[in-house]
Symmetry: C2
DNA sequence: TTCGTATACATCGGCGCCGATATACCGGGT
DNA sequence: ACCCGGTATATCGGCGCCGATGTATACGAA
């Protein structure tokens, strides 16, 4: 979610819109810039909600910048988003990765319990990618076409990596 | 994209809305159901555009089903989507994975050249996840917090798996 | 000189997604 | 007898995202 990314980046230090734009673009891994028509309205919404303030600053190269800074309400709201992400849908990869990126802002390890929920989701969610003509889920090696095999291979690699990471991280959290 | 998933599934055999719903939910890996208010309007749009037709069928358990079937226009349009995905943004993981899932519908290996574009994107896109306070991109081992390290670990695992797969798949395609 | 590109912000229309809500039937449990 | 959960479809309001467009400045290359 955009809101989370904006607040998360601003938590570190004040930034102007254009700077936020490039950082958010890089957040998903491959660089996919978010549209101006997405970012600036989002900033305005957060400002209207009183979560951030702006201060004009001379532009280093071009137009004047608006330096954005979190208010105390913004800091509190970010903490809330990280602790109790609006819902359920931990199954949304983008949201989860964004959350991971800023989870460090919760200093107390006990507040980072969200990773436990994530592991739970991994254990209970059946991860199946396709069904055959009769509606039965298909196993990995049943696929005849290389593209679905590839899809499965890539996803499984990511899942394995994440599960391993969850395991060690939770272990370390519990040691405190 | 929803449109692509609907057309892709229907390419195999006719399905009713509810069935599509469960298949699409599983498509993303973890099961995240798409909302009724998303699916049914999407079906109606495709129907209005003449890409699919519906036939009423008695519901096996409850309400009557509407079996959905691609028209010739629908088949043609799916082929077009697979060959020339609206644009550029191969960087959108969801779209790319959905495309992969149905790329088999292009029988001619020469039409599957989209994977070359994907590899190109991998080679040219700098994949960097975070910047420091001065705006410089940070390397993996510079991260102090375990969450950003995890994010990087997971993403890199997926990237490596995909790149390896791209390499072997392209090799095999070129042998034809 | 002029053009392209990067910086920097803003607005607007369209449209797709989602949650809420409604209807209706069936089977199984209490 | 009753309710709950799963099957099955549909509509609607809200809102967020995106592409297009506009404005303005600075720098380097053609």
């Amino acid at each position: 979610m955009l809101k989370l990314a904006i607040l998360g980046f601003l938590r570190d230090h004040p930034l102007h819109g254009y700077d936020l734009k490039t950082r958010i673009a890089a957040l998903t891994g491959h660089v996919k810039p978010i549209a101006d028509g997405t970012l600036y309205p989002a900033i305005k919404r957060l400002e209207t909600a009183g979560l951030l303030t702006r201060r004009s600053a001379p532009g280093k190269i071009a137009a004047p910048r608006h330096m954005l800074e979190l208010t105390q309400d913004g800091i509190d709201y970010l903490r809330k988003l990280l602790r109790e992400p609006d819902e359920l849908s931990i199954t949304d990869e983008n949201r989860w990765f964004t959350l991971l990126a800023f989870l460090r802002h919760l200093e107390n390890p006990r507040e980072q319990a969200i990773v436990l929920r994530r592991r739970l989701a991994f254990l209970s969610d059946p991860v199946s990618y396709f069904y055959d003509a009769q509606g039965r889920p298909m196993a990995a090696d049943e696929f005849d076409d290389p593209f679905r095999q590839g899809l499965l291979t890539i996803s499984q690699a990511a899942n394995r990596a994440e599960f391993r990471w969850l395991h060690t991280t939770i272990g370390e959290l519990e040691r405190h």
